[in-house]
Symmetry: C2
Subunit: 287 residues, 2 copies
């Protein structure tokens, strides 16, 4: 990370490339118990949240990540009643799950409650559903929390930072096994799995870890403008195959249609299309 007076840069791909972001104001900066948290008002992409100098949320594209993390699993799952989100303290994924009437409870487990508080102040459009009576916030380590629930959640989302430091444990076979145990027999999990073109973290090993635990492991992509190299991959894993090729459940068609209308990114056609991978993407995730 480099921070000149009117510019922020995040370097990536082994520090060989970087995204420069021109800033109007440095709105907030603090060292929490876990990480350095900064908020910038940028010139082009609205407000930007960074953790340890890494871009996490921006106003220009937060909807893409948040919509797909909630609507892809909800469209496929037999049951959406109980949802767990690990990480995601900005609240954006909660906001999207809250749009589904059949979601009965959302547990948000964010290790750093300062991320939640700062998001409430600077990204109120993301945190708007955190006061929903279905939402319970747990300021705890997700890797610990997951051990306490067995055969309980219908959907678990791992909304983590990069596989480094305290988030490294969120990409291991051990963790995926605990997630599997916390899921019901038809449960679904999803996780962000980095950029497969600029494959700095060798994502195949994360997919190998998933395949060691889940019978169904797939991958898809969506662009996140502020993330390293933009082309972003997501893992979809399930304890049993729902029999419809990962396509949205046809019995949910009318209900989904209403939600899709309000979405800025997600729709069922895109959902189907994004699981059709390029040769590169297939190779990088070991498919």
């Amino acid at each position: 990370m480099e921070n000149k007076m009117n510019e922020f840069t995040e370097y990536w791909y082994h520090q060989t490339l970087g995204l420069r972001v021109k800033i109007k104001a440095h709105l907030h900066s603090e060292q929490s118990k876990y990480q350095k948290i900064d908020v910038y008002e940028t010139e082009g992409i609205g407000k930007l949240l960074t953790l340890n100098g890494k871009t996490m949320v921006s106003e220009i594209d937060e909807f893409i990540y948040h919509e797909i993390m909630a609507h892809v699993p909800c469209a496929v799952a037999r049951k959406n009643s109980k949802v767990l989100i690990i990480g995601g303290g900005d609240g954006g994924v909660v906001r999207e799950f809250a749009k589904h009437n059949d979601v009965q409870s959302i547990d948000l487990v964010e290790i750093d409650d300062r991320v939640i508080e700062i998001s409430k102040k600077y990204f109120p459009q993301c945190t708007s559903a955190l006061g929903d009576p279905r939402v319970k916030i747990h300021a705890r380590d997700g890797a610990e929390f997951i051990k306490e629930r067995k055969n309980y959640y219908d959907i678990i989302i791992v909304d983590s930072t990069d596989p480094e430091d305290f988030a490294l444990g969120l990409f291991t076979e051990k963790f995926y096994r605990e997630i599997s145990e916390a899921l019901t027999s038809e449960g679904i999990m999803m996780a962000q799995t980095e950029n497969p073109i600029l494959d700095e973290f060798e994502i195949k090993k994360f997919y190998d870890n998933l395949r060691a635990v889940f019978p169904v492991v797939e991958s898809f992509s969506a662009p996140i403008i502020i993330y390293p190299g933009v082309y972003w991959s997501f893992a979809f894993a399930s304890k049993c195959f729902h029999g419809t090729d990962l396509n949205p459940d046809s019995t949910k068609k009318n209900k989904l249609k209403q939600i899709e209308k309000d979405c800025r990114w997600y729709n069922s056609n895109w959902h189907i299309g994004t699981f059709a991978l390029s040769n590169l993407h297939r190779k990088q995730v070991g498919m």
Copy 2:
């Protein structure tokens, strides 16, 4: 564009964002009749060609752009005999078309022959098919060249720079009409149409121009790591609907399979999936 000793930056999105690229060596720099041409040896993404300080071709991802520009139209077209490429002096699109045995002639119309010569020296992997007997190179303005051929080409590719300066004419209704006239009655054209998320050039107007001329106009996307914001859109336009929802022609299945095997990005499933657009993409291109 900013060029510090060991770094290259291209600014975009109204100069509010920029891509930094660490460089090992500045291999070449010249002012041609049309533009400034530079070649860098970078630390992370191999050699990089820029025109007027804008990233054009890099070794890490050139295959994505070049494969899709050739194999998407070849998979759909009834006939692939005669191909015209406007721009694309790096030769990468020619290389991919040359893999199709039923392509009988490829006209490459590049206004700046220095781009071709420099690509031959620094990107021989791209220019490898320029010596193919089916290929004819024309160092001319594409907007002029197109007026001379009527009802002739099966496929026309507009491999242009941004809609600025001398390339602005390549995004007008007038130019699209001349392309349509140069195509046979079942002809297909494709063009790069910028980043729909960071919509600096208001791409809807280019799609409106296409719709004013072609009965079939579609859009799809692919990531180009070195382009502004990576998420890149492409227009697909046809003079008549081939009746297969833009999917690869089933009669070509076996032939395509062989080509796909050697592709690093393209395959028929990805081809089908990429035409399923997000809400944002649909809106930005006016669909």
